[in-house]
């Protein structure tokens, strides 16, 4: 049987396809919003399936995007990272610091400097990911904590958004007293919870001149305290007052120990009138008409109220995408990092989640520029303070434990502040950071 030329073509095409697949570089990516159930998952996966292959021909990305929770991903990566997998990892800032300390991240300074898009990134977000003078990731998402308040309720009772802690307590107590079933303020107070810590540290930055509780002592070559017991006591007193000053108090005492799910749900269902919050809550619009109305029509955004003599400062969240230092495919990994921090990807992902873009060209897009929600949060970005590059794990436990001692009346806020200061000081002295 003679093989005619037209018959050879499909065979050759099939062979070529097989060979190209055979030679494609395979890399693994852990990207938590792609594996955890939520409004983000579907659009992100669609982008990975439809757009990424066109952006990165010759590179295939495994479809297991890692554990669905940051804490789980953190534990697993610290244990298995040295095997080189995943090649690329998305993280929260606290996690990235731990990975860097463990020697698991490759610095990307040189690659980033050669990238034509580098000037598009907001310098403060790059600074947050720079540890010991080296850049360990590229940001794809940023946001700060602000005060969300119910405009309709404030208007109803003739109040303006609070500018000080005292005003916040008074306004919250007024709403708690007058509005049945609504607490004036909602706080996250579960021990060990990262959200509890992020809220606490936002208030702390205000009393601590916008600085971290630790500062690196170049002479002693170790971390040292950069605050005072009184400052911790001041923030703990705020928490205590939220739950106990006034009748009814600003925060419902029955919500002590709530984690973020309850704080978020309470606000979008109308059970609380103010919350320290980040922009991600906007995705709850998909939860129903009540949530949609509250978030789109009845919510106002204001800077966090200030303590006497305090400075406008708040927790800056920056989510990086980093390369595993032990990856065998670092070039392909960098290509993936660039794709996941490209203008198109960030615009799609940030818009879906409602968070702020770390890229100037994305912030200039009409859907961001003309959106009141994005703009309200972007306006507060300059007040964001990045966390110091220490191991925050046990410090978060210490802080949330001290906060719980104050709100459960186990200790006076001043005493809890002193104890917290001593504990954190010991951690620095014993090199546990």
């Amino acid at each position: 049987m003679r093989i005619k030329f037209p018959h050879v073509l499909p065979i050759a095409a099939a062979l070529a396809t097989t060979m190209s697949v055979g030679f494609a570089t395979e890399i693994d990516l852990w990207f938590i919003p792609m594996s955890s159930e939520g409004p983000m998952k579907e659009p992100l996966l669609k982008w990975m399936k439809d757009t990424l292959p066109k952006e990165l021909p010759g590179i295939t990305v495994g479809d297991n995007y890692g554990p669905p929770i940051y804490q789980d991903a953190q534990q697993k990566f610290i244990v298995q990272g040295r095997k080189g997998k995943p090649d690329v990892i998305e993280a929260v800032l606290e996690g990235m610091i731990a990975y860097q300390r463990a020697g698991l991240l490759a610095p990307v300074d040189d690659l980033f400097d050669r990238w034509s898009d580098k000037d598009q990134f907001i310098p403060s977000t790059i600074k947050a990911l720079t540890l010991n003078g080296k850049l360990y990731g590229v940001p794809y998402n940023t946001n700060v904590r602000v005060l969300l308040y119910r405009k309709d309720l404030f208007q109803k009772y003739g109040m303006t958004p609070p500018k000080t802690w005292d005003e916040m307590l008074q306004d919250a107590a007024t709403i708690s007293a007058k509005e049945s079933g609504v607490a004036g303020l909602g706080l996250t107070t579960k021990n060990g919870s990262v959200r509890t810590f992020q809220e606490f540290i936002s208030f702390f930055f205000q009393v601590n001149n916008g600085e971290n509780p630790y500062k690196y002592d170049e002479a002693g070559k170790k971390w040292a305290m950069n605050t005072s017991p009184e400052k911790f006591g001041q923030v703990l007193k705020l928490y205590s007052d939220c739950f106990f000053a006034g009748n009814p108090p600003a925060v419902n005492q029955n919500t002590r120990g709530n984690d973020y799910q309850a704080t978020d749900t309470d606000y979008v269902s109308g059970k609380s009138a103010m919350v320290p919050m980040g922009p991600w809550i906007y995705q709850y619009r998909a939860n129903g008409e009540v949530a949609k109305k509250i978030l789109e029509e009845e919510t106002g955004v204001a800077p966090l109220p200030l303590p006497p003599g305090g400075v406008q400062a708040t927790y800056l969240e920056v989510k990086p995408i980093s390369i595993n230092a032990f990856s065998k495919e670092k070039d392909a990994a960098w290509e993936l990092v660039k794709a996941l921090t490209s203008k198109e990807f960030i615009a799609m992902a940030n818009r879906t989640e409602g968070v702020n873009p770390p890229r100037k060209d994305v912030a200039e897009l009409p859907e961001f520029k003309n959106d009141w929600w994005e703009q309200a949060f972007i306006a507060q970005l300059p007040t964001g303070v990045a966390l110091a590059p220490i191991n925050w794990g046990l410090v978060i436990n210490d802080i949330t434990e001290a906060m719980q001692k104050a709100i459960y009346k186990n200790q006076a806020p001043e005493d809890a502040g002193k104890e917290l200061y001593n504990t954190l000081e010991q951690r620095a002295e014993k090199n546990q950071l």
Binding site: I78, R101, N191, N252, E401, Y408
Partner: protein, 307 residues
């Protein structure tokens, strides 16, 4: 001639014995290897790690620190309270599980219409994954939308409504209730199976002698259940003392360490603080306490067997 034969026979027997033993060892070897690899090696490695300052985020710089981790642990008030909570939880959970398991077994063994349905349903709590049970309890006790609080509100007791898992007084009690809710039916089914094996002649003889229900239970049922009770106690002392998921998933050890147990405390040291050496020392202490508890239980079993 006969001595040559005898020596040949002896040599044959020795060879046969040796090859039989070798065969036995050969069969045992893979299992032994698995046990050594999966149990003994990690245990010894954990004990050795407990004498170092090994950190998960600085694995290359581990230094021998002797007993320092142990001294630090024993002085740590959170460790002390965690140990106390673990012991309290183990004691109350196991004692109440036995008592309630006996009561439930007694009810399930009754011959009434529909009892087979209840016997089948009873095991659902044991079959449910722990995470599902905890999520269910958390939803039921949520401050605003929880079934428990809505019920209290409906019966005019709104003042009692609260975030149950966030309440210092009730959080530990709720953890205990979750243990009971899950395990009591398992005890009941095990006890019921043992009760069905008791000869009815014994009860008949007791009734003839004028013994009432209570005396029959005390003098016939209970003594016949002693082995299964002890087996269940040993199993659940280990299970409850080691249990991590109920506490971690429901309260994370809070509020203000009110539900902190050894397993959650050690977990936090290892995974939040990355202090592997320190956490391993906690694990070794936990192992020692558990071995002691199991030895005490075994002593009871041995005593009963000798009776």
């Amino acid at each position: 001639m006969s001595s040559v034969l005898r020596s040949e026979n002896n040599a044959l027997t020795l060879w046969q014995n040796l090859s039989r033993k070798s065969f036995g060892y050969a069969i045992l070897f893979p299992a032994l290897l698995v046990i050594l690899g999966l149990n003994l090696y990690p245990t010894i490695s954990g004990i050795l790690t407990s004498f170092t300052n090994q950190s998960l985020i600085d694995p290359g710089h581990s230094v021998y620190v002797g007993l320092e981790n142990y001294f630090k642990l024993l002085k740590d008030p959170v460790f002390q309270i965690s140990l106390l909570h673990s012991l309290e939880l183990t004691f109350f959970a196991v004692v109440l599980q036995v008592i309630l398991g006996l009561v439930m077994a007694h009810l399930l063994i009754q011959k009434v219409p529909g009892i087979h349905f209840f016997r089948s349903v009873a095991m659902i709590t044991w079959v449910l994954p722990i995470i599902a049970s905890v999520v269910m309890f958390r939803f039921m006790t949520l401050p605003s939308y929880g079934f428990v609080n809505i019920l209290l509100k409906d019966v005019g007791q709104e003042r009692l409504a609260r975030n149950w898992f966030g309440d210092e007084t009730f959080a530990f009690l709720l953890v205990l209730i979750m243990h009971l809710w899950r395990n009591v039916p398992f005890y009941a089914v095990a006890f019921m199976a043992a009760m069905q094996a008791i000869s009815s002649d014994l009860y008949e003889a007791a009734r003839i002698d004028g013994a009432g229900e209570w005396r029959q239970f005390w003098f016939i049922t209970l003594p016949n259940l002693r082995y299964i009770i002890l087996v269940m106690v040993v199993l659940h002392v280990t299970f409850t003392f080691n249990n991590f998921d109920f506490v971690f998933l429901s309260t994370g050890g809070g509020p203000v360490n009110a539900t902190e147990v050894l397993s959650t405390y050690i977990y936090k040291q290892a995974w939040n603080g990355y202090a592997l050496g320190y956490a391993s020392a906690g694990g070794v202490i936990m192992l020692v306490v558990l071995v002691f508890l199991v030895l005490v239980c075994n002593k009871f079993i041995k005593g009963l067997s000798e009776e």
